[in-house]
Amino acid sequence: MSNDILRFATAGSVDDGKSTLIGRLLFDSKSIFEDQLDAVERTSVARGEEQTNLALLTDGLRAEREQGITIDVAYRYFATPNRTFIIADTPGHIQYTRNMVTGASTSDLAIILVDARKGLQEQSRRHAFLTTLLQVPHLVLAINKMDLVDYSQERFDEIKAEFTDFASKLDTRDLTFVPISALHGDNVVSRSENMPWYTGPSLLHHLENVHIASDRNLIDARFPVQYVIRPHKSADPELHDYRGYAGQLAGGVLKPGDEVTHLPSGLNTRIARIVTADGDVAEAYSPMSVTLLLEDDIDISRGDMICRPHNAPEVTQDLEAMVCWMTDARKLTPRSKLLLKHTTRSAKVMVRDLRYRLDVNTLHRDERAEHLELNEIGRVRLRSTQPLFVDEYTKNRQTGGFILIDESTNATVGAGMVVRTD
């Protein structure tokens, strides 16, 4: 198996044909099993629906099936001979912004569905904004229901132009437009004969071939120390002084012999060995989970960072970040005290101020806003009780992203993306 994995998020509401599209991708890649289809057909008939409702495949919770809506992120899996896919199927409505943010946080690509008849909607703009805020590297605008606009090139071009204009305000790195009909399968798996004017790839072809290997940061070496391995086996003298620093690379490439810096101490040493259970490796890169042995005995523990001497993250107690607020139990206000978890390090933080609240539909900045409520996004300044080792989120999603926890309820109440440090 030499497959790689593409993680992608789908955004759009049921009306846009999102479930139909996912159903078709799964069905045409033979990833829907007979018993699953039987169950969906039985339920569709029992509810008196005319067609088999493929949304029932992804709406796994009782409440979702009862209400006919998607509440939560569902993960679906399918594979083609070229690639394995993990779909984060996220609900489209504004009250589920936090779910979309969650699904996008780990995605390599996002598909935003637009109904060709309706054109760009408020929610299409919101989805595009959230996708770029979360730095999803590849964006696909799938203009669906082309069959209902007579497969019109003019209509496609119109929507494309409008979106391109809007996207110029966003930080989009790779944008692709595909005209499709999820219901009839046009341009989903294979190129459609109904749209000879479209010369690009089918949606699946694009998903199979989009280049994601260079999306990882292979320049800035970042190794958050996760766990210290100290085997106490008195019988084995080799293990007597063994002290391994286990973790998953969050960026860059490390090799034995490399000079590295430990944070927070700032001390330099060299990598002696890079260990895995399958033997030592000659180099380690993201997302490998490895164990580093260092040449010098430095006091290192979980939450520390290992990087290169002339390429270190910011060591700071002051952060400025875009925060998505994820709870209705309390609001984010200046002076709120929260627990922040960033890579393998946790620290108490206080909200210094809210610079502005962003209207996720219009991108208007409200600088008079005094708090953030559930699903609202704003630019926030935070002060931490101890130093954090951070990069700007646009440079590294792992070392630039963090979560906020309410210490009284232990709930995850916010997600943050570092904008700058000072």
Partner: protein, 310 residues
């Protein structure tokens, strides 16, 4: 990493199994670092064997820093129990057995009766009691999101309240690889490191790592009978009626669970490669084909999970 990385397409690119393995190892280390008393749920089935292998790798050359626990309905395949004990001894980990039989003997639960009698649901009580008794604050499970639609919605770190209950509508958002591990006393977290694996990934990994499996996963002759489209083993612990006539069939097990509700599939697959060919071609999910317990209702799994099931 294993053999697959040598076949990986380009420099600095990992194969899908390597990516999944690295993710699972990260999750296991995160739990070992942030919880005081984790435990790994271990049945001797293929998914838990993959989990045990991942745990060995995550802490190598150190020992696995937590015990394993088997929730034992008493209705086991003898081959699996024999295998379980051997594998646990080899790994050098402590085995905790949470016994449903002991719960029945102590009068804490009542043995179900009738044609559909199964101790499957009683596992929840034994599991929760053992978690409480041993003070476990995190329990690793080998559940995968591709198995079942309620599981597709569950977090990797899945919070359980003091009654062991799962609240699907009130789950903690899970972003990047930053996991919220905070709980209060009496609560615990179920952790699913192989959430993103598919059944085929598990078999590919078993092949790559040359993992040994209980013999019932491979084709053998067995006396079975058919009920509701599922081939159940003919055993004195299953109440069979006179229309359910036992016969000998060449079968193997696709999943391993409680004997009374785990079905066999007709198969001549004797090697891992045969099984992988079979799985790649199958048109039926593993739970749909072999688990009678999921057929109770459309939301059978969700309902059991809410109560604290795996």
């Amino acid at each position: 990493m294993g053999q697959a990385s040598q076949q990986a397409p380009g420099r600095y690119q990992l194969s899908q199994l390597d990516v999944l393995e690295a993710e699972a190892i990260f999750i296991m280390r995160e739990v070992a670092a942030e919880f005081e008393r984790p435990v790994l749920l271990f049945s001797g089935g293929k998914d838990s064997l993959v989990m045990l292998r991942l745990a060995e790798k995550a802490f190598w050359p150190g020992a696995i820093p937590f015990p394993v626990m088997h929730v034992d309905t008493g209705h086991n395949f003898p081959e699996v129990i024999e295998f379980r004990d051997r594998r646990v001894a080899e790994a050098g980990v402590r085995l905790v057995v949470a016994s449903v039989q002991e719960q029945i003997d102590a009068g804490k639960v009542t043995e179900p009766t009738g044609r559909w009698a199964s101790r499957n649901r009683l596992q929840t009580g034994a599991l929760l009691e053992a978690i409480e008794e041993h003070g476990f604050d995190a329990a690793f499970g080998g559940a995968r999101r591709d198995e079942e639609k309620a599981r597709a919605k569950e977090r990797v770190f899945s919070f359980r309240d003091e009654f062991g209950q799962w609240d699907p509508k009130n789950q903690r958002p899970e972003l990047w690889s930053v996991f919220n591990t905070r709980i209060d006393r009496g609560e615990h977290i179920r952790v699913f490191p192989i959430s993103n694996w598919t059944e085929l990934d598990v078999w590919d990994y078993i092949r790559r790592e040359r993992l040994e499996l209980p013999s019932i996963y491979f084709s053998h002759e067995r006396e079975v009978f058919e009920r509701d489209g599922i081939l159940l083993a003919n055993s004195p612990i299953i109440n069979r009626d006179e229309t359910e006539v036992p016969f000998t069939e060449t079968v193997r097990y696709r999943t391993v669970g409680d004997l009374t509700c785990t079905g066999a599939v007709k198969s001549t697959a004797v090697e891992i490669d045969d099984i992988i060919t079979e799985i790649a071609a199958t048109r039926v999910t593993e739970r749909g084909q072999t688990r009678a317990d999921d057929r109770a209702s459309e939301a059978a799994m969700e309902d059991r999970k809410r109560e604290g099931y795996f």
